[in-house]
Subunit: 230 residues, 2 copies
DNA sequence: GCTGTAGTTGACAAATTCTTTACGGGATAT
DNA sequence: ATATCCCGTAAAGAATTTGTCAACTACAGC
């Protein structure tokens, strides 16, 4: 579960975001001025901070600067104007990305994920970054989303790709249905939500069994799935 | 003999600099507004551009951006205020250095020389100034934005050129629509923004298929495009 | 001002992908 | 044993995404 700190003086927006991000599976803490923002950001271990630029008591840039003196927590700046200058200044001071209001909720989530992915990736450099993920006779090309089964290219959807990638990355260990839903479908698992089962089902049909005939994916009833490692 | 373009609306300063730099052995062309600045900068092959930030018609940042769309000519920004923000913005957009007014003439010359030395250093110039980018039977001339398909010159717009260049540089790996939009259109992808799709569509029409009949560009639904490498 | 070119946007069809519903079967708990 | 729960999957339906035409806007050049 990822903790988000939202620093914004627009109470209505805060309310909306708390609800929306909550439904996406995040835990959100909202504060409404700069001082509180700095304090809260440094008091707990947040996964990411969403920081408005125009704030009472301490503006967003100042907040960011103070946070950066002590913490490398990812920060996504929010601003009212679509102003390049704000963006560049923010990035220069150490923001990870920038989004101008009004923004689409889904775009917010997309940018957050991009940041978290970047931050959590073990190595940033292009040369050393792993571009291919292999498992048994499967080969996932992370660069262009292609999946090879032996020599043949499989026709895989984006969602299926993410599901398979996740299962292979954690091969041998259980991945809950909720986790898969969050990673691949960008939402929390809901009651009677069978979508992820369908994706796993379709995936099984497409990737078939292991070369020795054993199935690749095992179901853990009541919990989730995992890719069978050897 | 090195040609200098000076873009500044302060006529007195222009006069002074023309005389001083002339006495230092440079040939100086001075223009007094942003539009003229862009035009002149792109019309001739200057050794360096001295660019004021506060300009009529088009401010220095906009001038720089427009120049950078087509040229890698060194640019030294001049600004009235000793403002960090200006400096950061300028460097971010692609200026080579920055000098705040009022400045010492000697310092101006020193900085110009430093830039020219850096730009002309042999190790940089070969890598950065590669003139032609080739892929299959396509040949992009980076210097003049000409694209050859076999022997014939294609009629390609500046935006299409950048899109194609980006896709070819990263051939084989996916380039997101957002990335393409940022690189080619200088903005981020917005909701319902189909502009990049049109550019890709037009590009496909113009460059046709590979010699063997396969398409050059593949769509990765939900993500972006990539140039099919072999 | 007029004209042409480039870029953007709306609209729509087509293709593809995702979700839901429904039913059946095996697992689990009582 | 049997009632219940959970999962597999086919099929239908909903939704999204993309390709592209055509109209529109913006703007540089004449």
């Amino acid at each position: 579960m990822i903790d988000i700190l939202l620093v914004d003086d627009d109470l209505e927006l805060c309310e909306l975001l708390v609800e929306f991000l909550g439904s996406e599976g995040y835990r959100v803490t909202a504060v409404n001025d700069g001082l509180e923002g700095v304090e809260t950001a440094l008091s707990r271990n947040f996964g990411i901070v969403l920081l408005d630029v125009t704030l009472p008591k301490l503006n967003g840039f100042e907040v960011l600067r103070k946070i950066r003196q002590q913490s490398q927590v990812p920060v996504l700046m929010l601003t009212a104007r679509g102003d390049d200058v704000d963006r560049i200044v923010g990035l220069e001071i150490g923001a990870d990305d920038y989004l101008s209001k009004p923004f689409n909720h889904r775009e917010l989530v997309a940018r957050m994920k991009a940041i978290l992915r970047r931050v959590n990736s073990p190595d940033e450099s292009d040369r050393t970054r792993r571009k291919v993920l292999e498992m048994d006779d499967l080969s996932l090309n992370l660069a262009n989303h292609e999946v090879l089964l032996g020599e043949t290219v499989l026709d895989i959807t984006a969602t299926e790709f993410v599901v398979l990638k996740t299962l292979i990355e954690k091969s041998g260990e259980l991945v809950t249905r909720d986790e898969l839903t969050q990673v691949a479908l960008n939402r929390r698992l809901m009651l009677h939500d069978r979508a992820i089962d369908m994706h796993v089902s379709n995936l099984r049909r497409k990737i078939g069994n292991k070369p020795d005939g054993r199935p690749r994916l095992k179901t853990v009833r009541g919990s989730g799935y995992f890719y069978i490692a050897d």
